[in-house]
């Protein structure tokens, strides 16, 4: 199967390891991965901060870049939710933009959706002998309704001990520009999230969104907790040989 990787601007710039992990994982599962070079950003930051015009321009760019693909995979619940849930609200009903969005949006999958719903695989042959807890992230949980897909994938990883995260469904406090516009509340939410993570005794915090992990990880690191953050793709890409 030929798959386009939508890396997302945050992963592209700050977390290339996640992108490499997606490429190696999908290839291991027999996919032909393409990276459309013209891709940039879904426009979420602009739209959600009130810069609709810029956001719409980026959305238009996205629909042009990914128009011809059967499947687009994004290692981000948030960016996938932006395309699938918010794009349709950006275009005037009946316009050309609306038609382009209706064409491309349903083909965009978050990674765990793609693995379970499209490739129909739960055991991806991964090996990761660590104690891991999973934070579901808001846009994965309440936007895309990923449900237990990510944890089903993690449960099949050999050697991995998955421990439940108390208050998992609660927002970590990132919220895009919310983190800098309302830093006090954002930090308070982050502090509560990290306390719950510490209570699990996990070595690794896993999520399907590096932006949330950047906020939680930044807090964990500032507090010198020793807990690492890893994107779901990186754990699923790990194999016995790689360890």
């Amino acid at each position: 199967m030929r798959v386009a990787l939508f890396i997302t601007c945050v992963n592209d710039t700050l977390f290339p390891g996640t992108g490499k992990a997606v490429v190696s994982l999908l290839r291991r599962l027999g996919c032909d991965v393409d990276f459309p070079a013209a891709q940039t950003c879904c426009g979420q930051m602009h739209v959600n901060t009130g810069y609709r015009e810029e956001g719409v321009r980026l959305a238009r760019h996205f629909t042009e870049v990914f128009a011809g693909y059967d499947a687009v995979v994004a290692p981000s619940g948030s960016c996938a939710a932006m395309v699938r849930e918010q794009y349709p609200k950006l275009a005037k009903p009946g316009s050309r933009g609306a038609a382009a969005i209706a064409e491309v949006a349903p083909k965009v999958h978050e990674l765990s959706e793609f693995l379970i719903d499209v490739l129909k695989v739960e055991d991806v042959g991964a090996y990761f002998p660590h104690r891991v807890t999973y934070h579901p992230t808001c846009h994965s949980l309440r936007g895309l309704r990923l449900g237990d897909r990510p944890t089903r994938l993690l449960q099949h990883v050999r050697g991995l001990e998955l421990v439940p995260l108390p208050g998992a469904e609660e927002c970590c406090g990132f919220g895009g520009t919310f983190a800098v516009k309302n830093p006090a509340v954002s930090a308070a939410m982050g502090a509560d999230k990290t306390r719950n993570i510490m209570d699990t005794g996990a070595e690794v915090l896993c999520a399907a969104d590096n932006s949330c992990l950047m906020h939680i990880g930044g807090t964990l690191s500032r507090q010198k907790t020793g807990v690492r953050t890893m994107h779901l793709a990186e754990i699923l890409a790990s194999t016995e040989e790689a360890q």
């Binding site: 800098v180 830093p183 690191s221």
Partner: protein, 463 residues
Amino acid sequence: MSATFLGMPGSFPKNSRKAVQNSQLRFNLRKATHTIRGKRAGVVGELPDWQELRAAGKAIKDHTLRNLDRYLLQLEEAVTRAGGTVHWARDAAEANRIVTDLVKATGETEVVKVKSMATQEIELNQALAAHGITAYETDLAELIVQLGDDFPSHILVPAIHRNRSEIREIFLDKMPHVPPGLTDDPPALAEAARLHLRERFLRSKVAISGANFMVAETGTLVVLESEGNGRMCLSLPETLISVVGIEKLLPSWRDLEVFLQLLPRSSTGERMNPYTSMWTGAVEGQDFHLVLLDNGRTDVLADEVGRQALRCIRCSACLNVCPVYERAGGHAYGSVYPGPIGAILTPQLRGMSSELDASLPFASSLCGACYDVCPVAIDIPEVLVDLRAKAPHAAAEKAGMKVAGWILNDHERLAKAQRAATRARKLVPKRLPGPLSAWTDTRDLPEIPEESFRDWWERNERA
């Protein structure tokens, strides 16, 4: 007399910064919101047709709003036919004038009040006081706020920021004839309120209420409550004045079958609240006046995205589940409508000319928990994002977002920017200056990688 929100200085970020440092407040709010979340989830989970009720509730409200003129006239006719008098108020000042004149006409200088968001919104108590009329709040939480000269901080439980010990102290300090040896046991506090208000209920000649619902078809008004103070005010006094927002309408009697299931379960997390009163026009010889209030609602109605906020039935489920409200508290929102619904309602009702009101659409991480629990499916994140586009932006932010948009709109420009960042990766300080210090005050920055993903792909895959 409780304090007034209008003209409050500050902004949500400033107000909430103070609130998160108040550990007593954080503890009280966490305890209360987590208690009610569990109760709500339990009684909502009991109903196999919750989503169907929610879909019906949303549609009934949308249909009503679409035909509001027709249903308002139908209501007016039905109330009048049943012996009530209907008044119309364009804004707070007009509503306050109507109510004040009605009270003056009775010759009374004291009125009892049932908890009502509409009368808080128009600051009726202050308006009455200016004419020498004292309004006594009778709901326990309102009483706590009024006695403590405090601000309400929650739609359902305005004194949610107070715990039992603080309530005891307020009662000991401000309640005349308080029982000696009053403990902070909740039943003892409830008993103290019962004794405090009993005489007043029995002798008051005028009561003022709001309403949860008005039925256009029959002219019926509906008030849901718990304590019995509502029943006292609605049935004992000779004159009853109800101030109700025009969006509280339901077309038909039958529509109550949806909302009397949605509201109690979403609100106090009960299968049914202890008491619901329904009355049509003048009952048992009472003199009944209905004041229909606009006060900005028709402006909200004119906004295609924002008008869904008028579906709100004031249940507070969105406050109780909101992680931002839980930490910032209700006062930070500077309005009688705090929490997620307040963040979309207040800027629409009041506009965004003050720093505080302009900051409200940003008082959310857009986590979506509010939308999930809303019994009438108000897409609060959608309205927040829409309001953010209309809100004023700081010049520096505007310039920054413009540059970011320009870079992100072209992959070659993005690649150049990434390479520049990569070259500077060792130079980034651990603490950033200016507005970005908001990030590094509590969080470390991620390390900038040696190479972006697109450059890695270019090097390894395109070759």
